[in-house]
């Protein structure tokens, strides 16, 4: 099995969390998700949109999101993704862990201010 590098692993986990978060608002297709992440981060997080699709596939494989074919706002055939309940749980876990980590790193970087 081809093993991803640790750096990719971390990014992957983060990307997964962002995708899940995007879908909390309701089902969306890949194009919307990509733009939503960029806009939401005020264009700080520039992601290659292509890399989103393997992530979507992986999340679906794990049962965190489900997909269905639908019609886009421009009357195009598009694949929509929605959050499953397992995905909702996962998002909560990841968010909690992320916040813990951010707090921990914050404390290390600015110990005096506390």
């Amino acid at each position: 099995m081809a093993k991803p590098s640790p750096r990719a692993d971390m990014l992957q986990g983060t990307l997964d969390m962002l995708v899940l978060q995007t879908l909390v608002l309701g089902p969306a297709h890949g194009h919307t998700i990509a733009h939503a992440i960029e806009r939401g981060s005020e264009d700080v997080l520039q992601i290659e949109h292509g890399s989103l699709y393997p992530a979507l596939h992986r999340l679906e494989d794990r049962g965190w999101i489900a997909s269905f074919w639908g019609t886009s706002e421009n009357n195009r055939k598009a694949k929509y993704y929605r959050l499953t309940s397992a995905g909702r749980k996962q998002l909560l876990e990841e968010t909690t862990r992320w916040e813990q980590m951010v707090r921990a790193i914050g404390r290390i970087l600015k110990p005096a201010t506390e």
Binding site: M1, A2, H29, G30, H31, A34, E48, H49, G50, S51, Y53, P54, H57, R58, D61, S72, N74, R76, K77, A78, K79
Partner: protein, 908 residues
């Protein structure tokens, strides 16, 4: 990773492409909406997306099983490589096929005979009622122990707590008349409980039931003296088909068996057996309870244990019943059943399968062991081929390594290739095994039990598959271990030129050859020991002469045909006279059984005059009943005294003859025995010993000759209330003639018999030669198997040596060229290579001798008259192997002499 997704990944990929396409469309539209020109919008959309192929590949990989994917590649590559060298492939596959095929065949036999359960419902509950009785040595033999008497059967069957069903049975012969020609058929007489224990439902009609076992009239001269008259019969499937064409309306019809009408009540299904017996007819024993006594230990017992009951519990149950039996029954008013405590009877129940299979397991395991050795030798040869091949492919392998293939991947490639060879060999091997088994069934070794059950089942195929894969992987390990390692640079730089012979490179091949020679030695020694065994058996004096000129015919006269004993004997006398009158007949006689014929013999106590035994318990001696002229006809030598005459027999004179070993035991020398007296049981009249006969190997050529008391074919019967003498109703006639076995002769024999009485069938028509060969069957079978294995081993071993030496010669061509150029003698160079071969063979012989000494001990039970460490065999085999090695090394070494030094130096 799931296989479902693995198989659907192409579909996934198509869907993914659509999805990506839909993204690009949307992005393009957005770009156009922002005011970009059309083509630029599309280009920007693509750029925004990034590498679409990479994304698709990543998803595809997520769905694939890497191991399987690359394995398929390896298999394809290996197949291409194998197809490119068809001669190598054919040689390797064929060698493996023979090795694996032989193993598959022998395993199938072992599996069918020894491992698979017997063909009865819940066969694991079935047992043989084996009993030990050390106090009745002789009567109780190792194979069957002490059989049951009818009274024992009654006590056991009626009072046990551990059996679902229990019964006794006995096989025999019967004459069937009224159908076509009178025919003698095989019968099994069963008590109630036998069919119930075996629990095989009838193919038509019904079983024999308890009601069929109630005697309807007494049968004064019935066999065994305990059976009453019964009136029903069951047919075997084969008999039903042969005589009635499988007609179901046969149920209820009448069949005349031994001149008595019997109603056919049922038919047993195809392949039904009672333990080892395959009867044509099944009859009720119908024991006559009023006449049953303690004695009569002639019946084999069989039972079905209750669920959950162990053999130990059943043994304890029967042991509890033995005193009950002794107290319930006796041998007459003046006897006491407790006398049998002297015999020290112990129930030693055996699983029925053990009883059926007997000691054939010894032979089969020896054969299985040798055949595995043959496979190992075959593998060594193929491994050698693979090594040569791997050497030739070093360049390719190094190149692959240089291009980034990991060692594990290269090793796997080599293993896949050899595993493929193994599988191809296995597939072909299955065909060879099928052919072998068909051949075996056609030859049908007489002493192989369950022969018709031998087949290849799932377990056989599983074994063959496992063996093929294992052999393949083992083979692959040798070149993999040798060549998959690094050394890339050295190989690539060296451009394959062998500057000199590297010892290390040859070590693997040498080890393989030494192993081959060692294994071949083990097999050849085994085969040699069997040859010595066969030779030793041939020199044993069996107690009869010129067996090919001795015709035997078994004729029985049932009491329903001729009731009076005197008339039976008179008829037998007439038969003997008529047979003697056939042209070319030298002499004729008859007896209870011919030598080595497996008829249930009689045994009893014998007391020589003037000798007392403590407690009145004398050892049991075998009884034979013979006619005048019988011993003269078989060729048994008279050691002292004389044979019976017809006058002796008709006069019921109290006379016996004894075997030489019994005479020595009683009176020291045979000549002294003549005129001495002995008697049967303690109160019977004394019998005068009139002659001493040489020992006869009555139980088969490998068994010690038993001590025998020869009684006349008609003798006074102290038990008979009406004074009727005892006669041998079923007798084997022996006819000495040069014409024995010819069709014309047999026709005359039949006519002679039928001129005396047309209702007498002839059975067991054969020459003593056949009987003699049959007693050698186990030895012959083992000898042939080991002989084949040994020959294969030697061939393969020699091919191995030849291969190594030729290879060494070709590798050292440059060196030889230099030597020749410097003036070396061709003879000396030849000797160099022959010495090399000899060193390999010598090492193999030394190792093999040690291994053989360890392994041949396991053969002890199939050897006769030769020690497993017989030095002559070891020496002869070692010499043969070494001589063959010299030849195998000399042939390639001869090429050295013809080498032109200039050509040699240019070689490669």
């Amino acid at each position: 990773m799931s296989f479902r997704r693995f198989w659907r990944r192409a579909e996934w990929d198509r869907e993914r492409r659509e999805e990506i396409e839909s993204y690009v469309q949307m992005e393009t539209e957005d770009n156009i909406a922002r005011g970009m020109p059309d083509d630029e919008a599309r280009f920007a959309a693509r750029r925004r997306f990034g590498n679409a192929t990479l994304a698709r590949e990543e998803i595809y990989r997520m769905n694939s099983i890497w191991f399987v994917d690359t394995l398929v590649g390896d298999v394809r590559y290996s197949l291409r490589m194998l197809a490119r060298s068809p001669i190598f492939t054919a040689a390797a596959v064929l060698t493996l096929a023979i090795g694996i095929g032989a193993n598959a065949a022998v395993f199938s036999v072992v599996n069918s005979v020894l491992v698979r359960p017997l063909r009865y419902p819940k066969a694991e509950q079935l047992i043989a009622l084996h009993q030990d009785a050390p106090g009745a040595a002789g009567l109780a033999n190792a194979a069957d122990g002490l059989n049951l008497s009818p009274s024992m059967y009654f006590t056991y069957a009626e009072q046990n707590r551990t059996f679902q069903a229990l019964g006794v049975w006995m096989s025999g012969m019967a004459n069937v008349t009224g159908l076509a020609e009178p025919e003698q058929v095989r019968t099994v007489s069963v008590s109630d409980g036998v069919l119930q224990a075996l629990d095989v439902p009838p193919a038509a009609g019904r079983w024999l039931l308890a009601a069929d076992q109630i005697p309807q009239a007494s049968e004064p001269f019935g066999f065994s003296g305990f059976s009453g008259r019964s009136s029903t019969v069951m047919l075997s499937y084969g008999y039903w088909q042969r005589h009635f064409g499988g007609d179901r309306s046969v149920i209820g019809r009448t069949l005349t068996v031994d001149s008595l009408p019997r109603q056919i009540v049922g038919v047993m299904p195809e392949g039904f057996r009672i333990v080892k017996a395959e009867p044509d007819l099944i009859l009720p024993l119908a024991f006559d309870r009023s006449r049953v006594v303690s004695a009569g230990f002639a019946f084999a017992g069989i039972g079905r244990l209750k669920g959950g009951v162990t053999i130990a519990q059943a043994n304890a149950d029967l042991a509890r019943l033995l005193p009950v039996w002794m107290d319930t029954w006796s041998n007459g008013p003046n006897s006491n059943g407790r006398w049998y405590e002297n015999w020290r009877i112990t129930p030693t129940i055996r699983p029925l399968k053990q009883q059926v299979v007997g000691n054939v397991g010894d032979v089969l395991w020896v054969v299985m062991g040798t055949i595995v050795l043959v496979l190992l030798i075959a593998c060594a040869n193929v491994a050698n081929l693979l090594l040569v091949r791997a050497e030739a492919r070093q360049h390719e392998l190094a190149l692959r390594a240089a291009l980034g293939a990991r060692a594990a991947r290269i090793i796997r490639g080599l293993l896949v290739e050899s595993a493929l060879l193994g599988l191809m060999g296995g597939a072909l091997g299955v065909g060879i095994a099928y052919a072998g088994l068909t051949l075996l069934a056609a030859i049908g070794p007489a002493d192989l039990p369950r022969l018709n059950e031998i087949s290849m089942d799932a377990r056989s195929f599983g074994f063959t598959l496992a063996l093929s894969v294992l052999a393949g992987l083992l083979l692959g390990l040798v070149p993999a271990w040798k060549y998959a390692g690094p050394r890339i640079s050295s190989v690539l730089r060296g451009t394959g030129r062998t500057a000199s012979l590297s010892r290390e490179r040859h070590r693997a091949r040498n080890v393989l050859v030494v192993a081959q020679v060692a294994l071949a030695l083990v097999l050849l020694v085994s085969a040699g020991l069997m040859i010595r065994t066969a030779l030793a058996l041939r020199t044993v004096e069996p107690g009869f002469t010129n067996p090919e000129h001795l015709q035997t015919v078994r004729i029985s006269i049932p009491s329903s045909l001729i009731p009076e004993p005197q008339r039976v004997f008179r008829t037998q006398n007439d038969l003997a006279d008529r047979l003697a009158a056939i042209p070319g007949v030298a002499s004729v006689g008859f007896a209870l059984e011919a030598p080595m014929e497996t008829v249930q013999p009689n045994w009893d106590n014998v007391f020589p005059e003037g000798k007392t035994y403590p407690g009145g318990v004398a050892p049991l001696r075998r009884f034979e009943n013979i006619s005048p002229g019988f011993l003269r006809t078989t060729g048994a030598r008279l050691v002292a005294g004389r044979e019976f005459t017809w006058t002796d027999v008709y006069g019921l004179r109290p006379m016996v003859m004894i075997s030489e070993n019994l005479a020595r035991e009683f009176w020291g020398t045979p000549s002294v025995a003549v005129g001495k007296r002995l008697r049967w049981y303690q109160f019977s009249p004394w019998q005068e010993v009139i002659g001493v006969v040489q020992d006869v190997r009555q139980n088969g050529i490998q068994e010690k000759a038993p001590e025998i008391v020869y009684w006349p074919a008609m003798m006074g019967n102290p038990f008979a209330p009406n004074g009727a003498p005892f006669v041998t109703r079923a007798a084997t006639f022996v006819i000495r003639s040069d014409r024995a076995g010819t069709e014309a002769f047999l026709t005359q024999v039949r006519q002679a018999v039928w001129s005396v009485n047309a209702s007498l069938p002839l059975a067991s028509v054969r020459t003593m030669r056949e009987v003699y060969e049959e007693s050698l069957a186990t030895t012959s079978f083992t000898l042939v198997m080991l002989g084949i294995a040994g020959a294969m081993a030697m061939m393969l071993g020699l091919i191995g040596i030849y291969g190594v030496i030729s290879y060494a010669v070709s590798q050292r061509t440059r060196e030889i060229g230099i030597r020749v150029a410097l003036g070396a003698e061709p003879g000396a160079l030849r000797r160099l290579f022959v010495r090399y071969g000899l060193a390999l063979a010598g090492t193999g012989v030394a190792i093999g001798s040690v291994a053989a000494a360890g392994l041949t001990r396991l053969m002890k039970s199939v050897l006769f008259g030769v020690s497993p460490f017989d030095p002559l065999t070891y020496m002869a085999v070692a010499l043969v192997l070494i001589a063959a090695t010299v030849l195998a090394s000399y042939l390639p070494a001869r090429r050295v002499a013809g080498l032109d030094p200039v050509e040699a130096l240019k070689a490669e």
